[in-house]
Symmetry: none
Subunit: 214 residues, 4 copies
């Protein structure tokens, strides 16, 4: 049913729908995000939706894919210019937290994907982790990090740290109260406090066995 648009006008409509979907999914969650809401937000008629996406699930998965591409891009871009492994990591995390602050949709949507589209959920995490694994592999080869570190495991450890710290300090805000019951949409838009970030990075540095090396 769905199809790639064949005209410029169609292209525009399709992207309006995707943008609306990010907004609506992040505000309401998958279950409560209705097609009506999405099409209303996009300013098109209900039926138009099915010209570009064959189902609610399809647009959801495409959205995750999209956000995943963008967050990885943001991380890579942030790390550009860094030379040491730990500097790359530091800049990468900064990029990640910045993206999270600007796109709370990422968290909200991904967490819900557990039931909606496990496939997408795994793909999302796996792709980010792959980047870590590659980087850690290089660092290991160059002796920057401990020889007994297994990148395939430690990559997930780093992912978990970023995920939880981001949730706690970026999404919930500094006091951990933002976005409480009344307004689950609200979310801190500032990033992780410096002290927290430093503590986190020190822990990672020690964990990677980077510091005392020649």
């Amino acid at each position: 049913m769905s199809d790639a648009p064949r005209t410029a006008r169609g292209e525009l409509t399709r992207s309006k729908l995707l943008e609306a979907a990010e907004k609506v999914f992040s505000e309401c969650g998958y279950a409560d995000a209705s097609i009506v809401r999405i099409t209303e937000a996009a300013g098109v008629a209900q039926g138009t939706f099915y010209l570009y996406f064959s189902s609610k699930l399809e647009i959801f998965e495409e959205l995750i894919e999209d956000l995943n591409r963008r967050v990885r891009h943001a991380m890579a871009e942030a790390a550009e210019g860094a030379t040491t492994r730990i500097e790359i990591e530091r800049q990468g995390f900064l990029g990640f937290f910045r993206f999270t602050a600007e796109h709370p949709a990422l968290y909200r949507i991904v967490r819900e994907a557990e039931f909606v589209s496990p496939k997408s959920l795994r793909l999302h995490y796996t792709r980010i982790v792959s980047g870590y694994i590659a980087g850690l592999g290089n660092a290991k080869d160059s002796g920057e990090i401990g020889a007994d570190v297994d990148p395939a495991v430690v990559a997930w450890v780093l992912m978990g740290i970023g995920e939880m710290v981001g949730m706690r300090w970026v999404l919930w805000g500094e006091d951990g109260q933002t976005g409480a019951d009344d307004d689950p949409t609200a979310s801190g838009t500032s990033s992780v406090p410096e002290h927290v970030f430093d503590q986190m990075m020190s822990f990672i540095e020690r964990g990677l066995g980077t510091q005392g090396r020649p």
Copy 2:
């Protein structure tokens, strides 16, 4: 309106409902877990549900509370007898992963809670983290871990590590493929592979600055 049961028979029915809810929520997620499904699983009529819970949300929140109590109990119990901080941590994580393997509901349900009941979600994480903070504080006082470690931050770091490693190796299974699209119910029930666990613990040990101690 919901109400506490006044008879033994009522008590039994109520607990059958809670048990059924854990099963159904973990299999279908909050959105797709209908009251019909829950009452069918409990073997009672639809209306009976509302004798004990005033809404789907109420039983959901009670369930999170319940699972939270149990996972903390499991962690504490596992750590009993351990003497050094790192040993406590190690046993605690083992208890956590074991509980996760036996109650995949915990993960699946909590992750969805982001939209359904942010309040419960935060309470859940915060309670577990509190335990970490207390333990880390003691360890710091006794000089077991580095003096420059801030328990209030590192606790969340540990939480994130456990969360992600648990998801990757306990929930998804060893190959990371279990529970793919076709059968989202299936899940590894074995725990984290030894090699992975060791890697994780070594990282944590180094991170806490415990290693060089006698």
Copy 3:
């Protein structure tokens, strides 16, 4: 199923239920008055209800019957001592309005009876009207009112006047705003303003052709 109580304790329970029913029906209307609410208001268990009334409809009809008896009693009592027809009418209306002010339930319940129990509704009106017919017949025989007045018709005319004036000024209150959308329960408890009552009575006096007679 229902039955007359056989003990004093039963008698008490039954009357507690009737009293609770008047309260609840008048507050919520028939449709929204649940048995639970009635039994709660009466302070007994749900099942107890069916010991004394076989259904919701039964207690409703009994209540109308009861209120009907009481309003007629109130009217008769008020008219005691009056000698001329028009004085009897005047005092009767005063009694009616006073009762209405004290028992808004009467109006609310009777008006709803249209669909719930047409039988009761008609019986209610017919009984009150019968009193009027009898009185008007006497007055006609004694030449107090016009010879061309047909009591069987004029009685309903009087009923209508009392009903509408009572609704407008007793139930709605002086400004006609009381009990608006927000709080349909509230109701004026004062009676009809003197000027309104006088206007109404003058109209009736003229209508009955009472005034200029010897």
Copy 4:
């Protein structure tokens, strides 16, 4: 969410629903008039209802509004051409009773509105009464009716008379038995018997103090 139809097809569907609602509400009363019944009577699917009305209450209120407009139109039309006040009144009542006979829904629905939508109930009566007040005011100015008559009170008196006589003779039928328990739907469709109407009008004439005038 309800919405105004944007096409002719939608317009048609909406009016089918309103017509069905009049039928169903008048047959079953508000409480028992389910959306299923209304949509079945209209020949559309259940969900279609909510395309045009946001709730059962909304269509109910719109219906009262509609019937109110029509009954006032019927009364005005009937009175066209009448010159004296009493002739206007006479023709107006005839129009009212005729409308009542053709649309028993009006009575049945309005009487139930006491609990369902007090706002609508009051608006309905108030609007009709306003017409009376205006007419009586004119008649008073021109000396057609007694100088001591207060239109603001007598208007409600007339309303009450019409209401009760209409209920007794139009709705219940000549013998006052129609529409008893077995078949609450049935209702007299003929109008008020001539004798009754004459008696009523004579009473009103005397009451207004119109008789002795040229």
